[in-house]
């Protein structure tokens, strides 16, 4: 079978170009992060990592991520169940609305939360009366992170659940299963890998969000400084090695995300072949 672009010369040229450009624009920056982090040796790397403020930043980032993931997981599953299992007016609109966080600039996302929950906003001033401050504190960081990452789980689940249809669940209903049993025993086994990937994407973005978080954080060292903000702070302090040490940690999470995606895709194609 003859195909377009199969001539050996075209093939070699295109593959060569693709590999060279990817190496220059993707691989090289990735290598540069780790090279910069280790320029002054492994001891300095460990020193930078065990710095009091770096550890505090890691702790805050973990807290924010740990609170964001369950919220968006529950929301994503309910939304996917709603739009793939039922027909109702406004279904399309709901699917469009959920994409808003992808279109909104991170700075604008931070701004709208600051306006609402800041001390001059109507919710913020009301909370102020009870001495609750959300902005320039960790709850604000959690709120904007939930906003920025809320589409990921639903976006992974909706196409899959749409393709699978609801026949299996309907069969379970006729056999007398309750809603929770249907979800746990029928739906969940079918969607667990997509769900896991949605969580991994949520995690990657939650850990790395910068623009929205920097608007609402106030960047107080050791208090409201997340890991990406800490990277910026060190970089502005001309502590390049320190900045890249924190950056290397974030890059490791990114590499884990890529590996997880490749692994799950490999699993999916292998299962198709055995079917």
């Amino acid at each position: 079978m003859q195909r377009i672009g199969d001539a050996p010369r075209t093939r070699r040229l295109l593959i060569g170009l693709a590999v060279a450009l990817s190496a220059l624009f993707l691989l090289l920056p990735l290598i540069a992060i780790f090279a910069q982090a280790f320029t002054e040796g492994i001891d300095v790397f460990w020193n930078n990592l065990s710095d009091e403020y770096t550890l505090a930043a890691i702790g805050l980032t973990l807290l924010v991520t740990a609170l964001t993931i369950p919220v968006n997981l529950v929301f994503g599953v309910f939304l996917a169940w709603l739009v793939t299992r039922f027909e109702f007016p406004g279904r399309r609109l709901l699917q469009t609305l959920i994409d808003i966080p992808f279109a909104v600039s991170p700075v604008v996302a931070g701004l709208i939360y600051l306006l609402l929950y800041g001390s001059s906003g109507w919710v913020g001033s009301w909370l102020d009366g009870y001495d609750i401050q959300l902005m320039f504190a960790w709850p604000g960081i959690v709120l904007v992170t939930i906003f920025v990452t809320c589409p990921f789980v639903a976006r992974e689940l909706i196409p899959l659940m749409q393709a699978q249809g609801s026949r299996e669940e309907e069969a379970a209903v006729t056999l007398g299963a309750s809603g929770w049993t249907i979800f746990r025993r029928v739906t969940l086994p079918n969607i667990k890998w997509a769900l896991l990937y949605g969580v991994i994407l949520t995690n990657a973005r939650a850990v790395g969000e910068f623009g929205a978080v920097s608007v609402v954080s106030g960047s107080i060292r050791g208090e409201t400084n997340t890991l990406p903000l800490h990277v910026e702070l060190l970089y502005q302090d001309y502590n390049t090695v320190g900045a890249f040490t924190a950056a290397a940690l974030l890059a490791l999470i990114a590499l884990f995300t890529l590996a997880a995606k490749a692994g799950l895709e490999w699993r999916a194609t292998r299962r198709e072949q055995f079917r």
């Binding site: 992060i33 027909e87 109702f88 279109a103 600039s105 700075v107 809320c150 990277v231 950056a247 890059a251």
Partner: protein, 285 residues
Amino acid sequence: MSMIATLTGTASKRVLPGFGLSLGITLLFVSLVLLLPMTSLVGQLAGLSLAEYWAIITEERVVASYMITIGAAAVAAIVNALFGLLMAWVLVRYEFPGKRLLDALMDLPFALPTAVAGITLATMYSSSGFMGKLLAPLGFEIAYTWVGIALAMAFTSIPFVVRTVQPVLEDLPQEIDEAALTLGASDALAFRRVILPHLWPALVTGTGLAFVRSLGEFGAVIFIAGNMPYETEITALMIFVKLQEYDYVGASAIASVVLAVSLALLLALNLWQGRFIRRLHGGKG
């Protein structure tokens, strides 16, 4: 056909449990997390007269930032259209060692935090950095110029075109190639006249998404931009600067422009895509 669809549709509504619960939770979440914060922007702007609003959003320095942002985002999107098309083609059509690794690498810009990308590119392309030293003798300055902004925007939006074109290319039947080539078309002609029209909707969608993302990009850009007023200051930074000066009204006015443009572009892309799909399916679907 449509009657059966309606029947099964209403049947599933009755049969499966959880409609009320999932509708309630979803609407509560969408209202609280997505819509309520957006209303605060409207509230903030309601105090402004139209003339005041116009004055803020057309201030000279702000207009300069629009030009820089739009120009750099357009360049980034076009570069990504070409690069994405090449990558999608190579990853779908050819087999070679390291292909899976290359495929995985395409998602790096989405997985890597934007601030990390920002400081890395700024360090690499500054005059003391590895790439900067290489390019300086040739007369290319990238960091702290307009080119650096476009570079950072292009980096963060690489996956859009690759990942939208790839599945479409995978679904093209082999017979298309064969038909074109047996009729005597050259590779280039067959690609342009036979393959490209099929990829067009995906290519435009991917490029459009890359453009929208670049318009709002902040973390990756500010480190390499230099942030000189009138020259290398992007609109997202203008909003950020106004916020740090506690000028919430000014920040909101500029943000409303950015928000309106991004949402309008997203809506236009959706509508255009929908029309294209309808045309492909002969007016149905």
